[in-house]
């Protein structure tokens, strides 16, 4: 039995952005195409366009994040929306209010869009389902990161960056390096890379973080696990680094940051194994000297700051697409 994709309406148009999994290549390219003109908005005298004028966007962050929240806020403001930031950690949830009660209250304040980050996988799905079940599906939901599941706008901005520098996905070798299994960023990246037709995707990391079976995480996808950094990087067009989360150090999965850096930290010497025009990406925040050397992070192949800039355009595209869709 096939279930209707909760992200799409009956015409196949995007009404929520919950995960990259389940979106077609056509939709992904459609979002990237739409993002392109938004990159120029920041260069105008008036850095604002009126596509979301009069709309209320609620940033619901049940988990801390400064950068993602800020880029969503900038994107919504450049679309002329009114943005309300709720840091739920310190408000109602701390007083015991349930997720759906919080959503009901904000919907009663005439919200048009929720941007949701939550430590539990599936929380944005739950909100979207709840809104549909209660006849309020004119309110759109954007997943800004849920548990270990998905961080779709990060995945999309990474694809925008790759397309910007490399154009054709179907000729690329991409290495994703780090704590892939625990990373919602990696999960979104991998689904996007596979959907866009990248023929060789290498998952690079230590055995303790990355069992060989990880190659099966997306069935029939060209994923290959490499426990050797040199093997993973050789001839790559794109190197996508992941942030090593400090909590992994405590679970006996990794010996020490220094030890990790020695094997899997991206140094100029290791990067030299990739193609000479390979680009280096990182979703931020970076741990210099743990997963990436400063000489690489600040080097000519790094596109880490352009990723941030493109992220605003991609989020503007997503929000204006959702708001512009009729039910």
């Amino acid at each position: 039995m096939t279930q209707a994709n909760p992200q799409l309406n009956q015409h196949g148009e995007l009404i929520h952005l919950l995960s990259i999994e389940g979106l077609s290549r056509e939709i992904l390219h459609g979002i990237l195409d739409r993002a392109e003109p938004f990159t120029a908005v920041a260069e105008r005298e008036v850095k604002k366009v009126p596509l979301l004028r009069g709309k209320s966007v609620f940033n619901l962050f049940f988990e801390n994040s400064t950068r993602t929240r800020t880029t969503f806020e900038i994107a919504a403001k450049r679309l002329s929306a009114d943005v309300i930031n709720l840091n739920i950690n310190t408000s109602s949830a701390a007083k015991g209010e349930s997720l759906l009660d919080t959503v009901d209250n904000l919907a009663a304040m005439q919200a048009d869009m929720f941007v949701v980050r939550h430590a539990s996988s599936g929380a944005p799905y739950l909100i979207a389902q709840h809104l549909a079940a209660t006849g309020r599906d004119h309110i759109h939901v954007v997943n800004a990161g849920d548990g270990r599941h998905s961080h779709p706008t990060q995945g999309l901005l990474d694809m925008y960056t790759i397309r910007h520098y490399k154009q054709d996905f179907t000729k690329l070798t991409v290495a994703v390096v780090g704590d892939i299994l625990h990373s919602r960023v990696a999960r979104s990246q991998l689904h996007a890379l596979v959907t866009l037709g990248v023929p060789e995707i290498r998952l690079v990391g230590p055995q303790t973080l990355l069992p060989t079976a990880a190659a099966q995480m997306i069935p029939n996808a060209p994923l290959r696990v490499c426990h050797d950094m040199a093997e993973g990087l050789r001839g790559a067009d794109v190197v996508m680094m992941l942030r090593l989360q400090n909590e992994r150090m405590q679970g006996a999965l990794l010996p020490s940051p220094q030890e990790y850096f020695k094997s899997y930290g991206l140094t100029p010497e290791k990067l030299a194994l990739a193609k000479p025009d390979a680009i280096v990406m990182h979703p931020g925040p970076m741990n210099r000297g743990v997963e990436i050397d400063s000489a690489v992070a600040d080097g000519r192949q790094a596109v880490i700051l352009p990723q941030v800039t493109f992220g605003i355009a991609v989020r503007m595209a997503v929000m204006s697409m959702l708001a512009g869709v009729s039910q």
Partner: protein
């Protein structure tokens, strides 16, 4: 209904003739994507202007975005001169109908600065205005019914032509 249109080249020549007494070498033509850009390129050559033609995409300012047809994939960014402050601009489009595109174009232009003067040049005014907008320069006025479409196309050799047809979804 049979309406025969003059060749596009002839219309462009007539439009250029109307504009010639009123433009200076530093006048900037601003073509609206897509048809207006093609016409602006031709006018630019005919009028011998020094400023390269500019182009704008009005997607960001359309008033029907909430109806689900606002943003099309592959919309191009606008390219306006570094400063439009104090400039004389002539907005160029193929067909003037409701006036909504021009309203959006004016909003787009003013996001870049405050020009001294803005005029409008179109090849065809087909009637059907929904806003108080008029062309400054226009060689041909028609009264086409709502259900009829009038589209400018460009072939591989760069030749422009109008085609008349039924609007999709028209009654």
């Amino acid at each position: 209904m049979s309406t025969t249109l003059p060749p596009v080249d002839e219309l462009i020549d007539r439009l250029a003739a109307q504009m010639r007494p009123h433009v200076a070498p530093d006048t900037v033509l601003v073509g609206i994507h897509t048809g207006g850009v093609w016409i602006a390129e031709r006018l630019h050559a005919l009028l011998g202007l020094t400023q390269p033609p500019a182009s704008i995409d009005v997607s960001f300012h359309r008033d029907d975005h909430h109806l689900g047809n606002g943003l099309r994939a592959g919309g191009r960014p606008s390219h306006l001169p570094d400063t439009t402050e104090g400039a004389h601009l002539v907005v160029v489009d193929d067909v003037l109908q409701t006036g909504r595109t021009l309203r959006a174009a004016l909003n787009e232009i003013f996001d870049y600065g405050r020009p001294a003067r803005v005029e409008l040049a179109v090849l065809v005014d087909r009637g059907g205005r929904e806003l108080p907008v008029a062309a400054t320069y226009c060689p041909l006025t028609l009264g086409l019914p709502d259900g009829q479409s009038l589209d400018l196309a460009r072939d591989d050799a760069g030749r422009l032509s109008f085609s008349l047809g039924e609007k999709r979804g028209a009654p």
